[in-house]
């Protein structure tokens, strides 16, 4: 016999963590080598004890581990790190109840559009949903433990980024599916996207300075007024669009025509730029 297994190798073998090649090499050797069998008997109790302790610790940890939320499970399946998924899972506007609210709102908007003919109601409602989601994700008023979580070392700007992306992604996916269910499925049904981005990114940019709930209320009010002034009965009355029933009020409205869409796209780009430049003040706002 020219060689003997090291203590570390035998411990790995007994502990069940030796590689298959190592185990395959060791087993025939143990049959022939009396000295290594004696060494194996020596390391076995210690290794078994350590393995039992590790297994017990694993069981305790599994029992103690918080049960993941619906969003948390999806995020983990998408490859998001365990702790980041947890931060997303506890965001108010990423809870199942909130998402159910989004679905109900979109269903209402789709049905209302179907009844009235055209996509007007949907185009008014859809951009407001991500704004509400962003506000609920960042308002200290809905975070009961804000005083303790604010002074933890995680940077508020990073938290803002990951939660905004998650809120926008989930809301926009739901809205996109709802848009496909709209009557006629015309190009107008896609006109919600840029207003949604413009309003939600503006909400984020303004929330670096102002309470998110106030920002959301102001933006929602401004959006509804803008819609009323550019299409529908009020717009007809003030002469913003033609009075003919055959007229295409949405396609001709300032908001959803080509010019309006370009402007809204620019607003979204400007809001993202401002947010990036103001990221320092996001952390400062938390202690203002």
């Amino acid at each position: 016999m020219t060689w003997h297994a090291s203590t570390e190798t035998l411990e790995r073998y007994v502990g069940g963590i030796a590689s298959p090649a190592e185990a395959a090499s060791l087993e025939p050797h143990l049959l022939d080598c009396h000295q290594c069998r004696e060494s194996l008997v020596f390391v076995m109790p210690r290794a078994t004890e350590e393995r039992s302790a590790a297994i017990l610790a694993g069981i305790v940890d599994t029992v103690d581990a918080p049960s993941p939320t619906f969003i948390e499970r999806i995020a983990r399946r998408l490859g998001v790190a365990d702790h980041v998924a947890r931060l997303l899972g506890v965001t108010p506007s990423l809870r199942v109840s909130w998402l159910a609210g989004i679905v109900v709102s979109l269903t209402f908007a789709v049905v209302a559009s179907d009844v009235r003919g055209g996509v007007g109601t949907f185009l008014i409602v859809a951009p407001l949903l991500p704004v509400a989601g962003v506000a609920a994700a960042f308002s200290r008023r809905v975070d009961a433990s804000a005083e303790m979580s604010t002074v933890a070392s995680t940077r508020a700007s990073w938290l803002l980024l990951i939660r905004t992306i998650a809120v926008l992604a989930t809301t926009l996916v739901f809205t996109g599916v709802a848009a496909l269910l709209l009557p006629g499925n015309e190009w107008e049904a896609a006109a919600w996207l840029l207003p949604s981005l413009a309003l939600s990114t503006s909400a984020v940019a303004l929330s670096t300075r102002i309470e998110p709930m106030i920002v959301a209320a102001a933006l929602a009010g401004a959006w509804v007024c803008a819609c009323a002034a550019t299409f529908g009965p009020i717009a007809r009355r003030i002469g913003a669009i033609g009075s003919s029933s055959a007229d295409d009020p949405i396609g001709r409205s300032l908001l959803f025509g080509p010019t309006g869409q370009i402007v809204l796209g620019l607003v979204a780009a400007a809001a993202i730029t401002i947010t990036v430049l103001q990221r320092e003040s996001i952390d400062i706002r938390s202690i203002a």
Partner: protein
């Protein structure tokens, strides 16, 4: 107490509208426990929130562990070594105790799952909540919730522990356990706590600052604080005309702070006497409500 200054506060002022909460505070704190003693509205909470980087002062300078909380990088460095119990800690009541402390641990950047869970169990055991870690916070008593707040502050072995009224709602046994925990932390680190209970100060603090109306009225050891009232504390059958403060004791006689009444006997001054002498009537009301 270490001479090295871990917390340095210079001419710090903070107002809320027309109310002046801090009116030029200067303090240097080293390792050990420092208690801020004062009546409600004295400015203790405002000062602690500034030390915990939860609030920015209007003016003045603050340095904590050599970092400036006015800058984002400075705040980050401070927060990496900070534990904080606010005066009114709020909770996500649907969380279990374990889930809540685990959530704060994630925010404190303890990203390794197994190590984080071990740390959560450690701090919950330390405050005696190991047996209720799977109970929803909404079903815990006020004293237990206070201990949850203390547990999250202990995560990661902070070098600076800022505690606002940490013993409020704790029963005597829990209070003893808390003092042990604070004593252990304070052997090598800095603990700052606000209280209006002189008992906490004498039991835990190596140093005490009496604060009222946004100013530091006294800064020194608890023993020296008691000496402030030397020659001004009396036991008498009547409060007399020269009493600044007086109250009837269990023996039926009056304890008088101020000028000696007729036939008065001098009494050994306590921290409480000195505190009442410094903070006056407002502190007297506070003690009565705490009793």
């Amino acid at each position: 107490m270490s001479i090295e200054s871990i917390v340095s506060v210079r001419d710090v002022r903070r107002s809320f509208g027309r109310t002046v909460a801090l009116d030029g505070i200067d303090l240097d704190l080293g390792t050990g426990v420092t208690g801020f003693l004062g009546p409600n509205g004295a400015g203790k909470t405002t000062l602690l929130r500034i030390l915990a980087t939860a609030l920015a002062p209007d003016s003045g300078t603050v340095r904590i562990l050599g970092h400036d909380p006015a800058t984002a990088d400075g705040r980050y460095e401070i927060r990496c070594t900070l534990g904080y119990v606010p005066q009114e800690p709020g909770f996500h009541t649907r969380f279990t105790t374990f889930e809540f402390v685990d959530y704060i641990a994630i925010l404190k950047e303890l990203t390794d799952r197994r190590q984080r869970h071990d740390e959560v169990r450690r701090v919950l055991d330390q405050v005696g909540l190991g047996t209720v870690m799977h109970k929803r916070i909404g079903k815990l008593s006020g004293g237990m919730r206070r201990r949850v707040a203390i547990a999250q502050a202990l995560l990661g072995h902070p070098q600076l522990l800022v505690l606002d009224e940490p013993t409020a709602g704790l029963d005597p046994e829990q209070r003893l356990r808390f003092r042990e925990v604070v004593g252990t932390v304070a052997e090598h680190h800095t603990v700052v706590l606000a209280t209006h209970q002189t008992e906490d100060v004498s039991a835990m603090c190596g140093r005490v600052a009496v604060i009222d109306e946004g100013r530091v009225l006294y800064d020194g050891t608890p023993a020296d604080l008691a000496a402030v009232a030397a020659g001004k504390v009396w036991l008498a059958d009547h409060p007399g005309d020269g009493a600044r403060l007086s109250w009837r004791t269990a023996s039926g006689r009056y304890r008088v702070i101020g000028d000696a009444p007729d036939r008065a006997e001098p009494a050994e001054p306590t921290i409480e006497d000195a505190y009442l002498l410094l903070a006056g009537e407002r502190a007297m009301g506070e003690e009565a409500s705490a009793a």
